[in-house]
Subunit: 201 residues, 2 copies
DNA sequence: GACTTTATCATCCATCCGTATGGTTGACAG
DNA sequence: CTGTCAACCATACGGATGGATGATAAAGTC
């Protein structure tokens, strides 16, 4: 076709993407109950009606968001290097994409309607096994359970999202700043490296 | 009077306490935006009117709750024993009173309207100083910043609240169960003790 | 030009908070 | 014993908000 794709007034894909992005921000900021469809539409620069049109309302929009998130988020952790670096990677991922992290925590807090996701459970089990091998390689002491360690590492990597008040009070840094992100990633990496040290002895 | 004071049908203090308790549960479960005043009243076994009567509406009730929480929660950590035990204490506190922990995280996630609390900041600074002394005593390596460590410890102690899905998938335990609480507290205590070991060398 | 897709506008309807109405009943002082 | 006040309850209404819907216009397609 002679249609140059650069500028169309009508572009359903672009519109849907805008709505999803706006929804991510709004849901992350206020949670599902607190989010306002009006606000999402305004943020996306789009008519409110289109949310029902494309996603079947607020509920459907939220679900579309979480499924998209699962597909994007599944490949964020590279298990190539050391354990410390992996956790530092968690921290940086949380810092760069706070909205996704927040969304996950909203879900955890309001988990009554949320059914357990088998794919997620599978990922977690794989990570636990990976940690178990790391333990055999001497990266952390043998009396620590890989499952508990995974939970601890993952959780503490999200401090900037979970306890922004605490971060501000303790570190005197903006939890959303890259400055804090880098500082905290570095600190956690050191902490975990120390676990490897004690294992050698 | 032959009236024993043990059982009164009319007791404003008891009523207010019931409302606060019900509000704690409701707000913890659904957040401020998701909580329903009707539900709180029903849970408290009390007429909806009384919420306005005593607390001036939903907003006032929430504020009353947070102030009560701050006064109760400030003395939950004993700094008598080792660092590992302190963190284990955090974990147990979170396990026993999940609602308070959830409330704190709701607040952190929706922090736009929440003004920073000076008393809280003061507590945190005191804890950081306490950690600094612990570092001098050799309880954790010198290249770790007490502020970052405080954030990390406090955050990872709340795993059962923040990532219940993760706990279920990784540990195959109910995050709210005492079984998980004990297991996780023990694991974190071990982890932190290892930090002291590596410091000696 | 007919037809489909995409988008808009105005409205509709449910929900929810606050509050008014209008009362009942303990508690307690005198 | 009795009057008075505080503590409570049942119902319901007003007003605001917010999410959904129906009719319709504009853009794109053939």
């Amino acid at each position: 076709m002679r249609r140059a794709p650069e500028e169309k007034q009508r572009d359903p894909e672009r519109t849907k993407a805008r709505i999803l992005q706006a929804a991510l921000e709004e849901f992350a900021a206020k949670g599902f109950a607190g989010a306002r469809v009006n606000e999402i539409a305004a943020r996306a620069g789009v008519n409110k009606q289109l949310i029902s049109y494309y996603f079947g309302g607020k509920e459907g929009l939220f679900q579309a968001l979480t499924t998209r998130w699962q597909s994007e988020e599944s490949a964020f952790a590279d298990r190539s290097s050391s354990l410390g670096r992996l956790v530092a990677g968690y921290v940086r991922a949380n810092a760069e994409r706070r909205d996704f992290g927040k969304l996950m925590i909203w879900q955890g807090l309001t988990e009554d309607t949320v059914p357990p996701d088998p794919a997620f459970a599978e990922d977690v089990r794989r990570d636990v096994e990976w940690l178990r091998r790391r333990r055999q390689a001497g990266e952390f002491p043998a009396d620590l359970d890989p499952a508990a360690l995974l939970v601890a590492l993952f959780t503490m990597a999200s401090a900037g999202i979970v306890y922004p008040q605490l971060v501000r009070a303790a570190c005197d840094l903006d939890p959303a700043s890259t400055e804090f992100g880098e500082y905290y990633a570095e600190q956690l990496e050191k902490l975990i490296e120390h676990l490897a040290e004690v294992t050698d002895s």
